[in-house]
Structure formats: C-alpha cells, structure tokens
Amino acid sequence: MNRARVLEADRQPALPPQTDAEPEVILSTRNLNLWYGDQQALHDISLDIRRTQVTAIIGPSGCGKSTYLKTLNRLVELVPRVRVTGETLFQGRSIYDKTVSVEELRTKIGIVFQKPNPFPKSIYENVAYGPRVHGINKKSLLDDIVEKSLRAAALWEEVKDRLRQDAFGLSGGQQQRLCIARTLAIEPEVILMDEPTSALDPISTMKIEELIYDLKKTYTIVIVTHNMQQAARVSDKTAFFLNGVVEEFDDTVALFSNPKSRRTEDYVSGRFG
C-alpha cells in the first residue's frame, strides 16, 4: 500500500450530511493523530458518533481500529510512550478537559474487550464491581443494580441461581455477556466494543448481536469488528479504516452497497483484507 497515494488522494472523507432526522452527535474526533513512540498509527481521524446509533469500524488487521477505539475513553493512555494530538469531544466537551476526571469519562464511556475478561470473583461481585468502585455499598441497592444489569445483558435467567459462583464457571459467550452486564452496571452513555464476538462461537455471537440490537435503544454503541457481515448486520453507520486513516465513513447500507472509494469496494467485496 503506497502511503503517498493514500494521502494524496484528498483523504478527508466527507462526513455524512447532518439531517434533522439524524440523532445528535455525542462523540466526535477531529484530526486525531496517534504515535506509539516514533511510529504513527493514526492519521487525521475525524469521525462523528451519533446517539443511540451503532457505529461500526471495520478494516484489515493492524489498521488502527482498536487503537482508535481506546482513544475515545482514554484507555490508550495505559500504553507507555503513546502520544495523541487532535480533538475529541464528548457531549460537546473535550475529553482532556481538566474539569472532568478521566475516571468520570470512563464511567460514561464504557468498554467491552475482545477476549472476555471477568474478574476472578463471583458473578455477583463482577457486576457489582463498578457500583462499588463508585461508592455504592448498600446491599439492597447493589442487588437491584446487579439484577437490572444482568437482565439488560440477557444473562439473568441463566445465572440467577448461581450469582455467588465464580465467574469462570461460565461459558465464553456467557462471560462476554457478563462483561457487558458489568459495563451496563455503571450506566454509561456510550459503550465501546472491541471485537466483542471474535473469540466466541456462532451461537454466542448471534446472542450478542441480538443484545446489541436491544441495547442501542438506550445506549450509543461503537463496535470494532473484523467481521464485515456483522457490521452490515448490526450497525447504522460504518467507518472503513485503512492503514490508520479513515478511508470512508457513511451509512452502513450506502457503504456496503455503493462504496465511494475503490479501496472500500475492494475490501467489502473481499478482494483483500
């Protein structure tokens, strides 16, 4: 892939026009650049994420999708020698604004990882972790939150009789739904999902996609996925990342059926990736 050609071809892809019918933008980046040490991984990323929509990020391996996702809740700061420039606004305010702590930000923007990572604690304590960390310790309150979150993650019926058991006794798909429940328990506005089903079997994948469909009524979801069909199934908008650049960003239907860029067309029709 010739870097010069990608950049030269006027790569500030047109953002979809704002119509009145579209929900408002809740999260946006402008000219986001990221370096791992001296290596630049993201170039001038500008994207708008809208409320109660599912925005998918697709692209070949190593093109910066997960990295970009983690800049949204500043989790990328855990990596040493990372440098980020550009603007990221959440609900109109910069995420680097000193008046809002990074912990508060991460409470409003939750994240689910590729490999399910429940804590080595009981199912109950996993879901209660978030609320506890935020100071809620009263048992009746926690019981409520745990049940509500597990129901919202479509896991309650399967675990309600074994809440005190270790989370590792659950299957992979169940563990992932537990991680989703855990995130829901802190009542975020946005949920970031980093390839949430790539480590799961097809049935669990289906259940989680159904869950996403349900969740998007209340939450805004940004999902990174390797699986183009998944993006086509669940998302409203799709961004195609290539070599750390946004190649195209459009309504999902438009991007898949009528891509504006040649490279997008090649990728979605499977000619590379």
Partner: protein, 286 residues
C-alpha cells in the same frame, strides 16, 4: 545408517542414566543426613524435652526457651517484612516507571539477597542492638531477621503482582476505577497466593538462620524463659549450634542437638509444604 542410530540411542540412554544418578545422589545425601540425625536423637526427643527449660545437665535440658525465643522473633519479623516487602513490590510493579531509578532499586534489592547473613548480624548489632539500644533482645533479633529476608518477600511479591494479567487491570480502569482502587480490589487479591507463598518461604529461611543471631550476641546458656520482647533470648538454631560446640566436652549434647534439629526440620518441612500446597491450590485459572 544402523550404526549411527545405535550410537545416538546409546548416548541418549547414557545421559538419561547420568541425570538420574545425579538426582539420586542428591536424594542419597539427604537420606544419609536424615538417618544420622534421627538416629542420634532417638530417646532424647520426648515431651519433657519439648517443654523443659535449659539446663547444664543434658538429661534435664529442654528447648522451651528456644522455641519461645524463635517464636517471639517471628512475631516481630513477620509483619515487618510482610508490610515493607509488599509495599515495596507494589511501588516497583504498579507505580514506578521503567527507567534508571527503578533498575537501580531492583538491582540493589537483588544484591541484598546475596549478602552473607553474617553481615546482617553486624547490621543488627550496630543499628538495633546498639544505636536503638535494644540490646540482644527478641525485638532486635526479629528486626534483623526481617531485613535479612526482605529481598525474598519483595521479589516474590513482585512476581505475584506481575503475574496478574494486564487485561484485568484494563477492565477495572475501563469502568472508571482509580489506580489505587484497581490495586486494592483486583490486583492485590489476585496476587495473594503468590505473595503468601513467598512470605512463608521467607519465614522458613528466617527461622533457620544462625549467624546473625550469634553476631547479635545471643547468650550461650540462658535459663529463664523470656517473657517480653525486650528480653534477651535464645533461638532454636543458635541453641543447636552451641550444643554442637559443647558436644566436644559433653557428648550427650550431640544428642540434644540432634533432637532439636529434628524439631527444626519438622517445622521447616511443615512450612514449606504449606507454601507448596497454597501455590498449587491457587494455580491460576486465567
């Protein structure tokens, strides 16, 4: 072709036998040691021995004082070394950034582990016994021991912290937890088994150390049982040492020493088994 294969196979078997013999040798030495000690202690290791006070007359001598002394030292050493060791490990693993300072600290802690224990005795004598004016007390002995085994606790605690996978920390931060919350609620609980194992091994080392106590000035014959931490005392390994020395003149002392050694070995064996059991039980499932 056939000959070459035969040579290879022969070499293979030869080495296998050599390695096995080497392991058997180590086992053999241990067995000889144990048999010799246990046979010398027969008849001398009885209840009055375990509960009796010291006496010049070998038939009436008991190790209660030594047990109390060793126990008292452990009561002092255990919390000191645990707290200092774990806090140091937390700082190094969770807070300190990679760089010259961190390397410097870690190198020096590792070097401390290699310092002969006699030197720690000198440290204890100078700082605790004389400067802090604690004398050759249980307190001074315990503090000296805690420093002696501190590197063991630090290194094993660091290992335990390091073995907690990063994705658990990420999950915690992702939910808006602070660093300390993450350490307290996720990292520390997950690393407790490893830390416990290291701690027990550190204690078992401290129980058996003789040289530092000798330098510190533990008396040769101590009749009264210590009843405060400021009292001077005797400890099991030191008692064994002095009895062995005096066995030249009074042969029965050799039997007393052997009996005391058996007691020490039983304690050490129990501690080490506990450490191994804990480690195996919590062999991690992530």
């Amino acid at each position: 072709m056939n000959r070459r294969i035969r040579v290879r196979l022969w070499l293979n078997n030869l080495l296998k036998t050599a390695f096995m013999l080497s392991a058997l040798f180590a086992l053999g030495v241990l067995t000889v040691l144990l048999v010799q000690i246990v046979s010398q202690s027969v008849g001398w290791l009885d209840w009055p021995f375990l509960t009796g006070k010291l006496s010049i007359q070998p038939e009436r001598a008991g190790i209660l004082g030594a047990i109390v002394g060793t126990l008292g030292m452990m009561i002092v050493a255990a919390p000191v070394t645990l707290v200092l060791g774990v806090c140091t490990a937390i700082y190094l693993e969770e807070y300190a950034r990679d760089g010259k300072i961190k390397s410097f600290i870690q190198t020096n802690i590792a070097n401390l582990a290699g310092v002969p224990s006699v030197i720690f005795g000198l440290l204890g004598l100078t700082v605790f016994a004389r400067m802090f004016q604690l004398g050759a007390s249980i307190l001074a002995g315990g503090l000296t021991m805690s420093l002696l085994v501190l590197p063991i606790v630090v290194v094993s605690s660091q290992e335990a912290l390091r073995s907690v996978p990063q994705y658990l920390r990420e999950a915690s931060y992702g939910m808006g937890a602070t660093k300390w919350q993450t350490i307290r609620r996720v990292v520390l609980p997950a690393s407790v088994p490893g830390m416990l194992t290291g701690f027990i091994l550190a204690l078992s080392r401290a129980i058996g150390e003789t040289a530092p106590l000798v330098v510190l000035g533990i008396p040769v014959l101590l009749l009264p049982i210590p009843d405060s931490f400021m009292d001077t005392f005797t400890a099991l390994p030191v008692q064994i040492y002095y009895w062995t020395l005096d066995a030249v003149l009074t042969p029965e002392y050799a039997n007393l020493a052997a009996a005391a050694i058996v007691v020490l070995l039983v304690v050490l064996f129990a501690l080490n088994s506990a450490a191994i059991w804990i480690r195996n039980k919590f062999r991690k499932r992530y």
